[in-house]
Amino acid sequence: MSSPDIAAASAVPQKTRSILAQMGFWWDKVGIFAVLVLLCIFMSIMAPYFLSIDNGLNVARSVSINAILAAGMTMIIITGGIDLSVGSILAVSGVTGVLLFVAGVPSPLALLGGVAAGALAGFINGAFVAWLALPAFIVTLGSMTYLRGIAYSLLEGQPLISSDLGYRAIGNGAVAGIPTPVVVMVVVYLVFWFILERTKFGRHVYAVGGNMEAARLAGINVKKVLLAVYTIGGAAAGLAGIIFSARVLSAQPTAGQSYELDAIAAVVLGGTSLMGGRGRVIGTLVGALIIGVLTNGLVLMNVPFFYQLIVKGVVIVIAVAIDSLRRFGKSGT
């Protein structure tokens, strides 16, 4: 235990500490999933319509874009980084896809072009973080701004409607009754879960976030890992941008504004440590669902928008507090 821990631990009475430790134990066992279940039960009681299949699919579809952004964000945060530019990447990718389609590019290629634009934006973020060792927060704060500028300038500030968009099904269609964005989201999470849990690269992601110097000395190519992680995060944001533009049948330069915050919130709610080295993509999915259920339930309960914001914010702070207390309890025992 390091000395700051000791200082912090001794500042809190023994009794409080053991209660916190127990809470931590409880949190470890059932996790954030219990919060989601409790929240769903609460919402079903308060708003009967909440517990219908239609509404369930509605919630799932509404969280899909944030959940896909958050999947990429999880991987980035596990390396100890952050990507504030995902909302802007979403806009640039959506715009790129629609422009390519309008220019006559076959729709599968236009779709891929949008995703590739996202990957490229992520690669550039990664290059600054990995090669120049700049803080991710600053690099992506910058790219958040210039990418938004690019999205505007590609369209000269105006939205571009494309009602016959070739890949509109990815936003509005359904597979066996399940909305396509939800299907895409599930596939994305399976892929991310597999990468993080079952591949060599996944272990390297955790290693880089857990202890970068040790990772380097263990022979891991840290720069390559960082570069890959930001590129993958960019591609995920690009995919989210394609879904978004398909859903609204247009290229919107304002798309995805402040989405990065919801994505980060989902990641943190899901138990991933902002310090890096620890986290699970499944937790992130649950975190995104909590945010979605909260929003949906509060709307069904006719809670005014500004109160919704208060509730959402408070829930995020409480969840993060519980998570840090969990670790605190651990260090106290």
Binding site: T199, Y206, N211, A215, L217, G219
Partner: protein
């Protein structure tokens, strides 16, 4: 200066003990400093010198014992108390604000003001005055201190202490980063301060400096004060550097190491004129298959740096590395692992472990490629291989899935050794392999190191634990100031001889000895 004043101590500590966890850093140490003397402290790394100085400076509080200043008992609970008591300390690492000017650094905490405004002019003239008192007239008070050389920065720190009118000044390895001429200037200043009646505590590993400066020398070993030699009273010729060295090392080598004969085969590692272009090297040496070679020397002698150069962790400026007769270039640690070099880094927690990852992941981390097909991990293969390693290294872990942070230091070190074994390297570099592990784990680690050597691996150990180095190695390389100054057979070497080389006594004496002989 009259005799009475000179003999009554300025600073005295009585019966000081200090414990850190399982380590008794100081036990029942009594020590005094007279006005107008330079009292040198010597001892191997970890002997307790720095702990005592930190107690005197108020950084640590002792578990028992008392501190007296000019006969009065004082409490040193914080660095502020030390300041009030007129005790100053110049740390090995400088305590300056590099972006601020010399004048600002000298005025920190006591800035001159005119009503509310900072009086910059007065600050600069004050600084000039303070610098003059230590003879550092060539320093411009307006320069940012970070632009000065280390020696000059140290002068500024001493000037600050002198300006505060300290009675006792502790200098912890002050010449470690100084050039020859800067050292000379410092020595002149030390003589001046002594003649002014200040008491100076001088910590150094360099025998020649101690010989030039000290009035008394006190030697520490394993947290105990071994003895004090009064060179002013006895005369310089009555004491020899070898006496001091003997006091520094004198302890018994037990049979912890289980020495045995090893078969040495062909040369596996050949290093020629390797250097980082700066303070390290050029060094040249060989390690044979099955041989354990240990680099010994004092902290800062450059041993870890040589290890890091070989492993590609730092940049090589010149020189060659050959493995099994083929010259190789190591660009980074990943490249080193691929080319057959493994390294156990100096600091387990900071440089080797992933504390929140499982013990399995920690062990397999460098060789995940071998456990995967197209990047997809084969857990069963990984599990059984790690099991094998754990059995042979006797790692005690409840399961392979527990976090590595929950293991003891010894078991954590075995994880890292296991990681290296999976790499099957031709050369294994082990930097302080037994640091911070208990005695039981130590003997197990010695056994593991020998088993590794027995498979034909060339083993290069870096150790600050002399008995260990003598006990487990075939050959010793003694480093001092970035170079290999001696090479000896571990069987016939003694701690005394090693320390003579490591501190520079040997190099000092040998020309003299040849001079005396007809």
């Amino acid at each position: 200066m009259d005799q009475v004043l000179e003999d009554s101590p300025l600073l005295e500590v009585r019966g000081i003990s200090k414990r850190f966890g399982a380590t008794q850093a100081l036990s029942d140490v009594s020590f005094d400093l007279r006005p107008g003397e330079v009292h040198a402290l010597m001892g191997e790394n970890g002997a307790g010198k720095s702990t005592l100085m930190k107690i005197i400076a108020g950084t640590y509080s002792p578990d028992s014992g008392s501190i007296h200043m000019m006969g009065n008992q004082i409490v040193m609970a914080s660095p502020r108390d030390a300041m009030t008591a007129k005790v100053g300390i110049i740390h090995q690492e400088l305590n300056t604000f590099p972006e601020m000017s010399v004048a600002e650094n000298l005025a920190v905490g006591n800035e001159p003001t005119t009503s509310f405004m900072l009086n910059r002019r007065k600050m600069i003239s004050d600084a000039r005055e303070k610098l003059e008192r230590v003879g550092a007239v060539n320093i411009d008070p307006r320069t940012p201190i970070g632009r000065l050389s280390v020696g000059m920065q140290q002068m500024v720190e001493i000037a600050r202490a002198v300006a505060e009118d300290v009675k006792v000044l502790v200098l912890d390895e002050p010449t470690a980063a100084l050039s020859m001429s800067e050292s000379k200037q410092l020595f002149g200043l030390i003589h001046q301060m002594r003649d002014r009646g200040m008491g100076l505590i001088y910590i150094s590993h360099r025998m020649e400096e101690v010989w030039e400066l000290a009035d008394r020398v006190t030697v520490f070993r394993d947290g105990k004060l071994v003895g004090t030699k009064d060179m002013r009273a006895a005369g310089r010729d009555a004491v020899s550097p070898n006496d001091i060295v003997r006091m520094m090392v004198g302890r018994d080598v037990d049979d912890l190491y289980g020495r045995e004969e090893r078969e040495l085969d062909k040369v596996r590692l050949e290093v020629r004129d390797l250097t980082d272009g700066g303070a390290i090297g050029p060094v040249s040496f060989d390690v044979r298959a099955g041989e354990i070679v240990t680099m010994v020397g004092l902290i800062g002698a450059g041993r870890t740096e040589v290890g890091r150069l070989l492993y590609g962790a730092d940049k090589v400026a010149a020189g060659t590395i050959s493995l099994d007769g083929r010259q190789i270039r190591v660009r980074n640690p990943g490249d080193a692992v691929a080319k057959g070099i493994g390294m156990l880094p100096e600091s387990r927690k900071d440089q080797a472990l992933f504390l929140e990852m499982s013990v399995r992941d920690n062990t397999a981390m460098s060789t995940l490629g071998a456990f995967s097909t197209f990047g997809v991990l084969n857990f069963r293969r990984m599990k059984s291989k790690v099991d094998e390693i754990f059995t042979s290294l006797r790692v005690r872990a409840a399961s392979q899935s527990i976090e590595s942070r929950s293991l003891s230091g010894g078991n954590q070190q075995k994880l890292v050794l296991g990681r290296l074994m999976l790499e099957k390297p031709a050369l294994m570099i082990l930097d302080e392999p037994t640091r911070g592990v208990d005695i039981g784990a130590k003997s197990e680690i010695y056994r593991i190191i020998k088993e590794i050597a027995a498979t034909g691996t060339a083993v290069l150990v870096i150790s600050s634990d002399l008995p260990e180095a003598l006990g487990i190695s075939d050959r010793l390389l003694v480093m001092r100031e970035g170079r290999i100054v001696a090479e000896m057979d571990a069987q016939s070497a003694t701690e005394e001889v090693v320390m003579e080389h490591a501190t520079g006594v040997y190099a000092d004496q040998n020309p003299r000895m040849t001079h005396e002989q007809p």
